[in-house]
Amino acid sequence: MSEAMLVVDNVSKRFGGVVANADISLEVAPGEIVGLIGPNGSGKTTLFNSIVGFHPIDSGSILFEGREITALRVPQIARLGLLRTFQQTRVYGKMTCMENMRISTANREAGLRGMFRRFPPAVDEHAEELLEFVGLYSKRFLRAGDLSFGQQKLLEFAMALMNGPRMLLLDEPTAGINPTLINGLIDRLRRANAELGITLLVIEHNMRVVMNLAERIYCLAHGELLAEGSPDEVQSNPHVVEAYLGAH
């Protein structure tokens, strides 16, 4: 897979004496949906933070579409089209859903004039389409902070799509979402992947979701890469079972 979209090569990150990530290597090919699983505290979110430039890594390198992004900062990486969502759901609480969507449009063109530009009607139309897509159209003039947690999660997903990314890192997209809505969300993630061509790397605790969604899965435990393979392979891997059941 030399044409991989995202290459994480031997990345290590420690916080004081705690080794959060030890020599993690993984690859995601264009158009793939890859799952990242592991018990709590196994270093999944740390790895996401390392990839998007939230903190510097201790060693290793990260490539996005063949470009070295190890030393880039968060907004720069985001503008390349590699976007992440947050585990603790982050939206702009005092702004309406539509405002949240408008400001999420990618602003890749530099220059002072771009900063003051008005939003063309096409932006609003696109925002409404995407809100419709995640089922929040009727809430579009509510303040984002007044939405329920699950709705905020959906809004955050719509905002990410509004940005038109090449690849999305989703940190537990179904956490806190009503079980009956989860199937709908899986369907939407698949459609975003198939119709919009967005490559997905998904952290997920819900085994049913990740086994259904992902084509390949990486499993972390104690900051190390434990297993990788198809959902069936990972599911039957004795190390993975051990890590999850705690017989260590």
């Binding site: 907004p75 503008r79 609480g93 400001i103 900063m115 530009r117 008005r118 003039f141 905002m159």
Partner: protein, 348 residues
């Protein structure tokens, strides 16, 4: 585009603004300062309200503008060091043309100088967040006053006298009144316009969640710096004009007056409702009128009364007047749930 309600308010304010000094000429200076207060509150709210960065140092740009403008007005006509050491006894006798040209050039250079200082300071300290930024700007305001009080060329601690207005008695007040009215209108319309575009939503996003804004690729540092530059630009002009209407620049009481102007900016914006367009205007009007009334009827106790008012504002109107109205009458002032025809932006 303004809707019909807004247009009516614009019209009412314009009529009142133009009529005020003609109907009550005795109060022209007080009315002029009303518009100064509006400019203070509006420019403070760019960072403090819309962007969520509480700045206690905006008075730096105001004082800087005041000194820069005065120097530009005086230096071409006489030796600056001699002029300031004569502390007001030397009249350089400017003609009408010299005075107006000097004021225009002075204010322009003041605006540019303040903007440059904001860009330089901002690129450094706007990386600080929350309370750290607030404390840092508080230090800036105090330091600026002390520095100005140490420079002999601009009169050091004993201050500086601005050039005499060449016109007759009473005409000076009216001249500056209309300049301040125009400045306030320009500031309001400029902010109204930039808030409606990408800039407004970007600084709102920074207020609500700066980490998220960065994760979405927004150039936060650039937006923050430009926001401060916009404030500084207008405060520089305001400073240049205020120096001329007051007639005397004291480094810590007039120019870098952190304890009065510096605090009032914050209070007026909070009183009216920070983070809204009309809130700071409303807050400035209410605050200024109240303050003038205290000076007139509670003389000797006016500072105590003002302090009490500040406490009452913070305790009972933490959201400001407009914020309170929005909560109380959401259907009239709040965010709309259903869009009005062709509405592109909700709320005031």
């Amino acid at each position: 585009m303004p809707n019909r309600n807004e247009l009516a308010i614009f019209l009412a304010v314009a009529v009142a603004g133009i009529a005020a000094p003609l109907v009550l000429p005795g109060y022209t200076t007080q009315f002029a300062f009303l518009w100064v207060m509006v400019v203070f509150a509006l420019t403070w709210d760019v960072l403090g309200g819309q962007m969520g960065y509480n700045s206690f140092g905006n008075v730096v740009f105001f004082g800087l503008g005041m000194y820069v403008c005065a120097v530009v007005q005086i230096a071409p006509f006489t030796d600056l060091a001699e002029y300031t050491s004569a502390s007001g006894t030397q009249d350089i006798g400017l003609s009408h043309g010299q005075y107006y040209l000097g004021l225009a050039v002075g204010c322009s250079i003041a605006a540019v100088a303040a903007t440059i200082v904001a860009a330089v300071l901002g690129s450094g300290i706007l990386a600080l967040r929350g309370h750290y930024f607030a404390i840092c700007t508080l230090g800036l305001g105090i330091a600026a006053g002390e520095i100005a009080a140490g420079i002999d060329l601009i009169g050091a601690g004993s201050g500086m006298v601005t050039p005499l207005y060449p016109g007759g008695i009473g005409s000076r007040e009216r001249f500056f009144y209309f300049l301040f009215l125009a400045l306030a209108v320009v500031v309001f319309l400029t902010l109204r316009s930039v808030y409606a575009g990408r800039f407004g939503l970007a600084i709102n996003a920074i207020r609500d969640d700066e980490d998220k804004a960065e994760a979405m690729g927004i150039r936060t540092t650039r937006y923050k710096t430009v926001a401060w530059c916009i404030s500084a630009f207008f405060l520089g002009i305001a400073g240049g004009l205020v120096g001329n209407i007051v007639g005397f620049i004291d480094p810590t009481e007039v120019a870098f007056a952190g304890a009065t102007f510096g605090v009032w900016m914050v209070l007026m914006a909070i009183l009216g409702g920070k983070g809204t367009l009309w809130g700071p205007v409303l807050g400035a009007a209410v605050f200024h009128v109240t303050q003038e009334v205290f000076w007139t009827y509670l003389f000797g106790w006016q500072r105590v009364a003002l302090g009490l008012l500040i406490v009452l504002i913070v305790v009972f109107f933490p959201q400001g007047i407009l914020g309170w109205l929005r909560e109380r009458y959401p259907e009239r002032f709040g965010h709309r749930i259903e869009p009005a025809e062709g509405a592109s932006r909700e709320g005031a």
